[in-house]
């Protein structure tokens, strides 16, 4: 059985088939990229996995558990974290509290304990803070700890979103266009970090990406989508030479 599996996943908006009977599997510890032209249904697949959309049909399995009917907030508790294409950070909060929200799935304290800020709450907070600090160190975010998100540049926000997802200590991380809006240098950093996720933290990565150089550098396997259907699946080189993929991109 594979680690993560989507079976015949479909999402229809009326007559539009955004995702049409897509099946794929992710093995533990690999980096799988989904590529495809605009509107191919890449982000829709992510939104199906994180339960922002309800699939029209099909099932999703994670660690041999059917998660198709799980409520959205449970997805994170199972160990699936994600980032967003257009950055969904908590704008009017500091970087630190953004990252601490990432720790939410590990919080165990009750409301009444928090109102009194009992020693157990304090101890838990310190544990959260320590884990967050490790992520800050990993992603070089030290200069920004107490800054408000609303004052930070786009590139830094992108990294903070990755950091927030990492703070939840995920087993599987969904990266929605990690390099969009980044310059060459920042994209380079991002590709190192994505490899680090796999090699040092043992996180499985599922990634939607347009930048083929980044895809080539980090992915173990690639899936090409168009009009909600899988065109090709395989190593980066194989997929890029696949005639259907070439046709989809170049319109031949």
């Amino acid at each position: 059985m594979s680690y993560f599996r989507a079976e015949n996943l479909s999402l229809h908006f009326g007559g539009l088939k955004a995702v049409d009977a897509v099946s794929f599997a992710v093995e533990k510890g690999e980096i799988l990229s989904i590529i495809g032209p605009n509107g191919a249904g890449k982000s829709s697949i992510f939104n199906l996995i994180s339960r922002i959309y309800r699939p029209t049909s099909g099932r999703i399995f994670f660690e041999d558990q059917d998660i198709t009917e799980q409520p959205p907030y449970d997805i994170a508790r199972l160990g699936i974290a994600r980032t967003f294409q257009n950055i969904e950070l908590f704008e009017n909060a500091t970087v630190l509290s953004n990252l601490l929200v990432g720790r939410h799935r590990h919080s165990t304290t009750q409301l009444w304990q928090e109102l009194l800020f009992l020693p157990s709450v304090r101890a838990n907070e310190k544990v959260h803070r320590r884990r967050v600090e490790q992520v800050i160190e990993l992603l070089d975010l030290e200069p920004y700890r107490d800054k408000l998100i609303s004052g930070l540049p786009y590139g830094v926000r992108k990294v903070i979103e990755l950091a927030r997802a990492l703070c939840s200590e995920p087993k599987l991380i969904l990266l929605d266009e990690p390099s969009s809006g980044l310059n060459v240098e920042e994209t380079g950093d991002m590709s190192f970090w994505i490899r680090d996720l796999k090699n040092e933290l043992g996180v499985t990565v599922l990634m939607v990406e347009h930048d083929m150089s980044l895809v080539n550098r980090v992915s173990d396997r690639v899936i090409a989508l168009n009009y909600g259907r899988v065109l090709a699946m395989g190593s980066p080189a194989e997929v890029q030479q696949h005639p259907d993929v070439v046709a989809a991109y170049l319109g031949a």
Binding site: P72, Y73, F90, A93
Partner: protein
């Protein structure tokens, strides 16, 4: 300017970041404690109202400022707290019991309002909470066996452990102050723990909060319940302070006053609730002053600038008529809200921070320091 060097994770958690805070708030608390021995009874009475409004302000901040759920129904929660106290008093229930019962009942009703409000955002939520307030007002007026309808209810003098605490005694003031301080400390504790961060997360991006494992529905209901419960506690104190309650005291205007409290004070910090409460309680004496003294002063000024006695008298009666217009209070509230939203969206506390920063950075303060700017536009948001 003080530079903070953090050496411990504790530095991010503690309530007072450095000793300066301890001194400032210590002095403030000391001043508040000796206030009854210094201030006149009128000012003491105003100070009690400031405490009660500030408690409601903190409650509303939790819901509106930190969770991002607007409410124009807090007068109703206040009413439920007040009437619970008055009703239980008729059965000779002791104060601590009906105080807690009022908070509990209001909290439960708050949660019940929270459930249907889950699917509503923005203006629709405001309309829903207004309707809730109107329903409560109507129930209070009609359910005569419990609330005595429009006749209202007399609230007996508070008795704490067998000792009578009249509503204008220093002890009653200390009680209100204690409830306010406990509310603020509890709220600060909440805000630095996972629940508070979940509230802020919901305010800024529900989608992201959900994908980080926050049960958005549960936390919204929690926020409603906590906010309502605190307002219920304030309602008990309010009832005792007024010693008589009737449905027409808990109208939409009162809810708007609470919104003004946090809007004027500043919605991003608990300081805002206290500053806003002071502001709103000051409006009434100001209006009285306007009514009583302004006509005479303006007429006197006109006379010194050469107006005839008849004209001066005319001016005086016109100004007096204007100052005692029925809707004047509402109009002033409206103007205040509009002016603050346009020119000082961060409220009085935001203004205070700006002034502080000006002196800290002198002479390097730039006018654009607090200018709101959009760095990029969100093209597509999952709501």
């Amino acid at each position: 300017m003080r530079f903070m060097f953090k050496t411990d994770y504790e530095d991010d958690i503690r309530l007072f970041p450095h000793s300066g805070y301890v001194v400032t708030y210590g002095v403030l608390l000391a001043l508040l404690l000796i206030a009854p021995h210094v201030l006149s009874s009128y000012l003491m009475s105003q100070l009690v109202f400031v405490c009660i409004y500030a408690i409601v302000g903190v409650a509303l901040l939790i819901l509106t400022g930190f969770t991002g759920q607007a409410s124009l129904g807090h007068a109703a929660f206040l009413a439920i707290g007040a009437y619970t106290a008055a009703y239980l008093q008729t059965y000779n229930v002791p104060f601590p019991v009906y105080f807690l019962a009022a908070g509990l009942l209001t909290g439960i009703i708050g949660a019940m309002v929270g459930f249907p409000a889950l699917r509503l955002t923005g203006i629709y939520l405001v309309i829903a909470t207004i309707s809730f307030a109107l329903i409560v007002e109507e129930i209070l007026a009609r359910w005569e066996s419990v609330t005595h309808g429009n006749e209202g209810m007399r609230v007996k003098t508070l008795s704490l452990l067998g000792v009578a605490v009249p509503r204008d005694s220093p002890t009653f003031y200390y009680l209100c102050l204690a409830v306010l301080v406990l509310t603020i400390v509890g709220t600060l504790n909440l805000l630095r723990s996972p629940t508070g961060r979940a509230f802020v997360a919901i305010r800024d991006s529900e989608t992201a909060a959900r994908s980080m494992g926050v049960n958005v529905a549960l936390y919204k209901v929690k926020s409603f319940a906590i906010s309502a419960a605190i307002t219920g506690f304030a309602g008990v104190l309010f009832a005792h302070k007024l010693s008589f309650i009737s449905p027409e005291m808990f109208t939409l205007q009162l809810s708007i006053e609470f919104i003004i409290v946090i809007l004027i004070g500043g919605t991003f910090s608990l300081h805002g609730a206290v500053l806003g409460a002071i502001f709103i309680v000051m409006i009434d004496p100001f209006l009285t002053y306007l009514k009583d003294d302004m006509p005479g002063i303006i007429a006197g000024l006109a006379a010194t600038f050469g107006a005839s006695t008849a004209t001066a008298g005319n001016i005086q009666s016109n100004v007096a008529a204007f100052a005692s217009l029925n809707g004047l209070k509402g109009a002033i509230y409206g103007i205040i809200i509009v002016l603050f939203v346009l020119f000082e969206p961060l409220g009085l506390y935001g203004r205070w921070l700006k002034i502080k920063l000006f002196f800290q950075l002198f002479p390097l303060y730039k006018r654009a320091t607090f200018k709101r700017q959009k760095i990029y536009v969100k093209s597509e948001r999952n709501r």
